[in-house]
Amino acid sequence: MSEQVPILQIGQVLLVSIQTDLDDHAVMRLQDELASRVVESMADGVVIDITAVEIVDSFVGRMLATIATISRLLDADTVVVGMRPAVAITLVELGLSLGGVTTALTLDKGLRVLERRRLEAAAGDGDAEPGAVEAGFPPGGAIDS
């Protein structure tokens, strides 16, 4: 049985934390589910936490890259957080550089990346409502940096 990965929403951000060894069906389902949720929730950011993930093979690597591309098309940024050093070393040797995927070491840093992008987008867009931007901040993530 392949299990379902919960997708949590915090403000404008969808958070997915992969906690178990997912089979390929579950990986594909997560990809599809995230795309629908980005649109439904009008999220502008997606964080995928892979702290607990022991290996990323080409299938999961492709899923991460595809989610990043899909969410970009749906006007959201994706950050992959918590990659283990051994996973990074293995990915490079495998031949997957995940060039199009933004990464951050921790969840906190990942949220700040999204926050910065949101501010940049608001600054670049003259008629953006500042209120809408403010409302998007995840609680507690906006202090330093």
């Binding site: 049985m1 392949s2 060894d21 997912l22 089979d23 390929d24 069906h25 022991e54 290996i55 990323v56 093979d57 080409s58 299938f59 690597g61 492709r62 283990r84 050093p85 051994a86 996973v87 070393i89 293995t90 040797e93 495998l94 031949g95 997957l96």
Partner: protein, 133 residues
């Protein structure tokens, strides 16, 4: 010597089981964390290949002692259509399906020994070994 672990890979769950079996052997063999990760990743790629391109197959994994070295050896065997051009199949980016073409070439880079035996109509057997340092 422990008995080899034999696993049949007939569905997606087989790929997950293959990863878990190989990880547990790699830990028993005291491979470093990076070596474990590389071996398990290679096993995941090859188990998926056996499932998708070979129509399912078997995995046999064991700890081996050879010439004073200790390592984990994993054999993936399927009775699928086989590979016509083995050299081409080992090229980065080459795929007969809709994968990324990194499974074979990438997993070869992740292990110490890699032997691919295949012929059209005769299925494919891939044997990989990772030695403890």
């Amino acid at each position: 010597m422990t008995e080899p672990a034999v696993l049949s890979i007939t569905g997606n769950n087989g790929v997950v089981m293959a990863r878990q079996t190989v990880r547990s052997l790699a830990q028993d063999c005291r491979l470093s964390l990076v070596e474990q990760t590389k071996l398990v990743t290679a096993a995941s790629e090859l188990a998926r290949n056996a499932l998708i391109y070979g129509g399912g197959g078997t995995m046999t994994a064991s700890i081996v002692d050879e010439f004073g070295r200790r390592g984990v050896r994993v054999v993936f065997a399927d009775q699928g259509p086989g590979i016509a051009d083995v050299d081409l199949a080992l090229t980065d980016g080459w795929t007969s399906g809709n994968g990324m073409g990194l499974g074979l070439s990438g997993s070869r880079r992740l292990v110490d020994d890699f032997v691919l035996d295949s012929a059209v109509g005769r299925g494919t057997t891939v044997t990989i070994t990772k030695w403890a340092r």
